[in-house]
Symmetry: C2
Subunit: 342 residues, 2 copies
DNA sequence: TGACGCCATGAGATCGATCTCATGGCGTTC
DNA sequence: GAACGCCATGAGATCGATCTCATGGCGTCA
């Protein structure tokens, strides 16, 4: 493939001049510039970014790691990040960790070798993450996405998970629910899920209600109804359930209806994330929306700021409660027998 | 950052020897190897892939372009591709085109400059794609994903869209449906959608039924029920609808139920793609499953074969009809008044 | 007309690896 | 003990750009 040397030769100039035709045409004689460009076109010259990257020590590439692309929340975030990065002239190397710390380490090592200009990571466990310990010693700018900010080490982009879930909980309480549970994926894999559970607990306690332990599902994407059944039965059963993400909520609604229950009649269900699909379902999903498009934009902007040497302290992004049809007011028939106590 | 020169210096060997410690340790004296590795560790040496790429003229990077990550079918395929690529030692540069030919061109040009070893593209319109015309003149191996194979130029990985939709259509016909329609996103943006419509038409005609024109929705991800209403009304209204993708089907089901209709009671709905979520909904989605995991694996394997210089001719991947609850037998009450005609 | 300075261009080093080929040491064989 | 060959290592070129600094030409001004 044609390189600058052959272009320079054909145009009858030096490599330096040929290079200048692309990087700073304004200080070439117009005639010279024209000759070089013509030679480039004739040879089908295409600048080699690898050589540029080596020489300039900047790759204009960002490394992105998410747990999985099977969850639309990550896919939608990635979509936004890609657009923002492209607009700024950056490319994305995309990887999935499957919540596996070993894979996280291998991926990050690989990306550092690739000399990405910056990393945007969503790790399973920000506070015990081996990969973050390692990165603290490296000079490559690193941003956490979705993970709660850990120590003062890495800036983090995301909503305030605790406050967001507290809002969702209060929403249910305000609609008359008293026996509210929460389900989530494997706890060990997600610091977010834990924070969300804390928000739930806080809001419950603030209302004088008893928070329950998180009901753990084997996966992040699909409920096993059997694990929830015990909590549903009888007059003392739950009347509302919060889910740590939308996929669980959607799956839960499906399972409930398949088992003959109605939503929100028999159980109100709230999700978390606000994936696009949730709006279109019936019943449409009541959920806490993380602003995905803004997410991607802010993540990329913040990372680029880090790369430029700034020390941005991004604020938590605002979450929005989206009222759907899956969570409703407590039916009169299920009013708790407990005495009213303001 | 430490480079091979400094490692060599510290270990008291030449650069060549230091390099050999990593690439072919077996022909170094064990003692020498140990000294180099120790020096590398002491300096925190990390091989620079950019330099390797320049020298070896192989980047071990694949360029992936999909229309959008908002549609889980692409996200899930990407997930599978990423895993397959990683297993083979390759990284993925991921981009989204938004079905925009201009963006497609810019993206491909960018990736060629990056000297990716191969390209896996899902283009909007394979047969009038400017980007493919350009690529035909380039030497970078290129694979189409989802797009129907175009001429003998580029191998293509995907299901047989026409046959798959014909199967789905026959499935509905076998369950007694006669007035079957089809909806899709903007036709101009998807050669797949067109092929699927052809499959539908074929199957309808083969059964002596009248195929209808595709009812076009403004987006690929969401139905506008108003556009369908005219076809639904009255005794002569449709009893079943095929959708060009699952998102449309899901959205359609939601809208129908919101408007007081039942699925499949009032209308049977079939999707296409088989995204994971469809299983968990209620009613669960009847759909044509494209084997996503296999998709990614086959796409990467085929592309790697191309890179190695082979000329693979991948077969269409097998599709599977997944029976869900959203498509059922035609209710007796809606039997067509037309005479029985075997 | 000579000195000065700007402007366009070229020569050569550099980024950090890999790869080929040369070389010196040492063991083997007759 | 001389010739041979293998093995470990080193020297230098190379991939394809960028960047600094040197240089020659030309216009300007005194």
């Amino acid at each position: 493939m044609a390189n600058l040397i052959s272009v320079a030769k054909l145009a009858g100039v030096s490599r330096a001049t040929a290079a200048r035709a692309f990087s700073s045409p304004e200080n070439l004689r117009p005639e010279t510039h024209r000759r070089v460009m013509e030679a480039a076109r004739a040879l089908g010259f295409r600048p080699n970014k690898v050589a540029q990257q080596l020489r300039t020590r900047a790759t204009l590439m960002l490394g992105v790691m998410v747990p999985s692309l099977d969850n639309p929340v990550f896919a939608e975030q990635l979509q936004a990040m890609e657009e923002a990065a492209r607009a700024a002239g950056y490319s994305l190397i995309v990887t999935t960790s499957g919540y596996d710390p070993g894979r996280e380490e291998a991926i990050v090592e690989e990306m550092l070798r690739q000399r990405v200009d910056g990393l945007a990571l969503t790790v399973a466990e920000a506070d015990h993450s081996a990969v973050l310990v390692k990165l603290r010693r490296e000079s490559t700018p690193c941003l956490l996405v979705h993970n709660p900010p850990v120590a003062p080490c890495f800036p983090s982009v995301g909503v305030d998970n605790r406050a967001a879930m507290a809002d969702a909980t209060r929403y249910l309480i305000a609609r008359g629910h008293r026996r509210i549970g929460m389900i989530g994926g494997p706890l060990l894999q997600s610091d977010r899920a834990r924070l969300r559970h804390e928000g739930y607990r806080e809001a419950m306690e603030a209302a004088g209600l008893t928070p329950l332990a998180l009901i753990e599902m084997p996966r992040h994407t699909q409920v096993a109804l059997s694990r929830l059944e015990p909590a549903l039965g009888g007059a003392e059963g739950l009347t509302a359930v919060l889910c740590t993400n939308d996929l669980l909520a959607i799956s839960l609604i499906g399972e409930l209806r398949r088992s003959g229950r109605s939503v929100p009649g028999d159980l109100s269900v709230m999700g978390f994330d606000g994936i696009e699909l949730g709006r279109h379902l019936y019943p449409s999903l009541s959920t806490v929306v993380q602003p995905r498009a803004e997410f991607g934009r802010v993540a990329v902007d913040t990372l680029l700021a880090l790369i430029r040497g700034a020390t941005p302290q991004p604020l938590p992004l605002p979450h929005v409660l989206r009222e759907g049809e899956s969570a409703g007011a407590l039916p009169a028939s299920r009013q708790a027998p407990e005495p009213y106590d303001p």
